[in-house]
Amino acid sequence: MNVHAPGSPGATGDSGLTVRDLVVGYGPVAALRGISLRVPRGAVVAVLGGNGAGKSTLLRAISGTLRFHRGGIASGDVTFDGERISGVEPSGVVARGVVQVPEGRRIFARMTVEENLRAGALGVRDRGANARARERVLGLFPILAERSRQRAGLMSGGEQQMLAIGRALMAAPRLLLLDEPTLGLAPIMAARIAETIQEINAQGTSVLLVEQNVATALALASHAYVLEVGEVALSGAARDLAGDDEVRRRYLGIDPDADGGTSAPGTPDAPGTPDVPAERRTLTRWSA
């Protein structure tokens, strides 16, 4: 594996998010075993990996919510723009500009759309900033303005994901942590969410994206890390990873020997191409 790690700690100074040798355990069970990664300012960085690889644990460690799951940081640290944020209360992490959109959306279903957005702004005292954030959110998601008085629980999955992202943006984050934002969404809605993530990033917010949909994630990100059982198994430029044989075989379901790999990473999960023999196609699908 000769994909280098351009995001190695300390390589590009102190701006952005730096995770250094992070070890996290839930009781005696180690979930992260010495992870280091960087999200440079303005970048979109993806974290990939299967179930149980430690992706959600990583986000919890950054946002300070490990204790809700009886977990804790054993060693290592997390800094944002040079300031240590590991060991800081979740509210302190939010105040420093790092805000997470939780997995499974977790909107406040009993509250209205408007109240959900208000809840997102609770960590920020500045009224002017709140008004600007609201304008930005409603610009990104006009549907939230239309539905402002509706109970959030009554919206569709895609709309709820928009609300969850909009709610997080209300805190005017400098770094947005996204945990599986396209999970369980219809493909067209997943594509819209992906576009929105690009737009949010273009507006100047860095993004750390945790995804199981590898094709989408690699299309959005400039760099990516692949986690396996709590360790960084691979890392590198997203373009290099998307072209890497092992990643293609294991995560994109493309058999590199079959020369079917002309499909761009934007067309996900294609199990094979027509010129692959039927027998092998089945094999590829099962190994994906």
């Binding site: 809700f68 209360e89 509210s91 406040f108 509250m111 809840a119 609770l122």
Partner: protein, 296 residues
Amino acid sequence: MITFLELLVNGISVGAVYALIALGFVVIFKATEVVNFAHASLLLAGGYVIARLHEVLGFWLALLAGIATAALVGALVEFLVIRRANVAVRSVLAIVTIGVDIVLTTELTRRIGTEVLALGDPWRDRVLRVGEVSIAETRLVALAVAAALITAFLLAFKYTAWGVRMRAAAEDAETAALMGVRLGRVSLSAWAVAGALAAVAALFLCVFPTPGLDRGTGLAAMKAFPAAILGGLDSTTGALAGGLIVGLTEALMNGYQNQLAFLGRGVGDVAPFVVMLAVLLVRPAGLFGTREPARV
């Protein structure tokens, strides 16, 4: 008919006071998922301070002091006990509050002794007569004050940042934390507000026609417990409905006690619990409570 009208007004008035107490239960339960069995001792503490200070400070200042004390005691219980107790199961904390209640109530009853303490309220035993219906002024004031406090509370719960914080934390604590809500402060404010409401309730439980504050006053707070339960422990609307139902049931049962002699004496004290059981048989989550969401 006249008796019925009098009983009705008294029942609603007492019910509104129970609703104040039940609201305290509900606020604490929503914010921290703890059933607070120490509520009666918060109420007793507030009442005791009013009773002891009214001669020195005058009634209104004493009332303020009582409210502040009960709020402070509530906040202290949260800060010193609930927050430190490192238990995963919230029902264990409910049992911890029983311990807190025993400690506080024992100390307060020791101080009160066998006395019946007046609270020095300005309404005394004056009675308002409308036609043939006569109602104690204290009952009308209780009704007005409770209604005003409950309205203010519900508006704050719905519209202020404090309310949004409380509701967000109640619905999903972890996500609320991700939004920058400080759960410790939410919990602290819930206990303080519940204490303050309990102190106001203490006042109206001890004024005419009740002789005053005695060691049994805390028990009256336990009547708000079926009110909170039958309304649904996590519903503010439920606390109101539950309070009124319990107040009316109690007043009517006591008022018509002679016609209900076959049930034995003191049936008014039992009735709220019977109503609670009946409601729970039909609606296990209470009238307005949230059922555990079922995934379809």
